[in-house]
């Protein structure tokens, strides 16, 4: 944990008083029972559901996830803490810890390294938390804290090579400029094991969709850790630390953890995303005309490779193999579709993905206190007339 200084405190006070995304809240009493408040939309993000305005947390409606690359307007935002915008010209990042050559790098330094562009699906570890029973602790995400972007940047391995990693290094931690609102609250720092840090797809990205990464999505520079839960891909990077152990902080040891399969008294820090699929069309509650309907959606598998998607149109009694279509990128979602001859009546459609690790989406998920790992088969009910 970084030590606190009066300067840091004063900087936080300043940020909170002036940050444009840090909208303050005036409480107004309401009559009657608890209601879900509806905070105002965020400019450029009007399509998204505001789960929290401070820190900012926005998710898409699944029916707005209609394209392989998610438009910025429909791309979710997950902030543990907000951050003030960082001027790219002023930005720098330290590489420190278990290295022989600690370095400070600026954007120009990164641009001298070989560039990498790849399509990556990012999903919040808590996506689907709202479906846990009883209610799990945290932002109540439904289906839409997921999206796919084209990121450009450099390999983290190349950056670590500049700093000359020591043999003792086993984990690499990322820290962004976002800081908690009080000195006692834990800084948002997460680490990944060395094998993942050195993997050729793990990157420090400075472009999204061919343009500088927007502030809300972590620019000027963010980590992109494909296949891992979204929280590994720390935004607004200012520090990369090589460590001998997994980072010992709240966001590794307490939050972003789930009970171990072999001993549920102990927890592990989440790494890979689950195997998962969503139905984009038809929408929940849709009224359809009888005849041909193309059911379709997305499927992804984190560290696994997607091997297939099965579709049921009778509530899970029978399953048919869906067709995988469109781009196929190792760490991005894949589109699936199924030609359904819809007869009059009420129907429940389901999609179920499988992957190369032998995983299949389950029909249920054991409750876990923090509401992670929700990849239960997505079902939509429709009426056909």
């Amino acid at each position: 944990m970084p030590h606190e200084t009066e300067a840091a405190l004063s900087r936080r006070g300043f940020l909170i008083a002036t940050g444009s995304t840090l909208a303050a809240t005036a409480l107004r009493p309401a009559a009657g029972d608890a209601q879900t408040p509806a905070p105002p939309p965020v400019p450029g993000k009007e399509k998204l559901i505001v789960r929290s305005s401070r820190p900012l947390n926005l998710e898409a409606r699944v029916t707005d996830l209609t394209t392989y690359h998610t438009p910025e307007s429909a791309f979710f935002v997950r902030n543990n803490y907000d951050a003030a915008p960082v001027d790219p010209a002023q930005w720098s990042m330290r590489i420190e810890g278990e290295v022989d050559n600690p370095v400070v790098l600026r954007l120009d330094d990164l641009r001298k390294l070989p560039a990498l562009t790849q399509d990556v699906t990012l999903e919040c570890a808590g996506n689907g938390r709202a479906f846990h029973q009883p209610r799990a602790s945290g932002i109540q995400w439904e289906h839409g804290a997921v999206g796919t972007q084209r990121f450009t940047g450099v390999r983290l391995a190349d950056v670590l090579a500049l700093a000359k990693l020591r043999p003792a290094a086993r984990h690499v931690a990322f820290d962004g400029v976002d800081k908690p609102p009080t000195p006692q609250a834990p800084d948002f720092i997460r680490s990944v094991p060395l094998w993942k840090a050195l993997a050729p797809h793990t990157m420090l990205a400075f472009e999204m969709a061919g343009r500088p990464i927007p502030h809300l999505h972590g620019g000027p520079v963010r980590a992109i850790v494909p296949g891992f839960v979204g929280s590994a891909s720390i935004k607004w990077l200012e520090r990369v630390m090589a460590l001998t152990e997994e980072f010992n902080g709240f966001y590794m040891k307490s939050n972003y953890t789930a009970p171990r399969a072999d001993n549920d008294k102990e927890v592990y820090s989440l790494q890979s995303l689950e195997v998962k699929s969503v139905i984009v069309n038809p929408a929940e509650g849709a009224r359809l005309a009888a005849g041909k309907v193309t059911a379709w959606g997305w499927a992804w598998a984190g560290e696994g490779e997607l091997t297939g998607v099965d579709v049921s149109t009778d509530g899970g009694k029978t399953w048919t193999t869906a067709t995988l279509v469109g781009p196929s990128d190792r760490y991005a979602w894949r589109q699936w579709e199924h030609a359904w001859d819809a007869a009059a009546g009420s129907h429940t459609l389901m999609a179920r993905a499988t992957d190369s690790l032998g995983r299949m989406q389950p029909a249920s998920r054991a409750f876990n206190r923090l509401g992670y790992r929700w990849n239960v088969i997505h079902a939509v009910k429709v009426d056909v007339a």
Binding site: I16, R28, A34, Q35, T36, P37, S52
Partner: protein, 92 residues
């Protein structure tokens, strides 16, 4: 401790001076204590949670550890308020 209270007071001023958004909470005894929560985060973070007594108590204890200015006598009242409106009967 003094530092955290001073910080909270400074932030409270910022909140009051920059109020831009209104949300509704039920006006039953203890509702004003929600202002202690919104010093650091918007009210939606709190009111989308549903816990039982243990869950709310642990959550408030964690927030107090992080510097939320909630002395013991106010914690009890805030607990009662949260359990009245934001309780999951099946939750801890």
């Amino acid at each position: 401790m003094w530092r955290s209270l001073a910080l909270a007071a400074a932030l409270g001023t910022a909140v009051a001076a920059h109020a831009q958004q209104e949300v509704e909470v039920p006006k039953t005894p203890g509702w004003e204590l929600i202002m202690r929560c919104v010093i650091c985060h918007s009210v939606e973070i709190a009111v989308q949670q549903r816990f039982g007594p243990q869950g709310w108590s642990e959550t408030l204890d964690r927030m107090i550890k992080y510097g939320a200015p909630i002395p013991p006598e106010d914690k009890a009242q805030l607990m009662a308020y949260l359990l009245r409106h934001y309780r999951d009967p099946a939750g801890r």
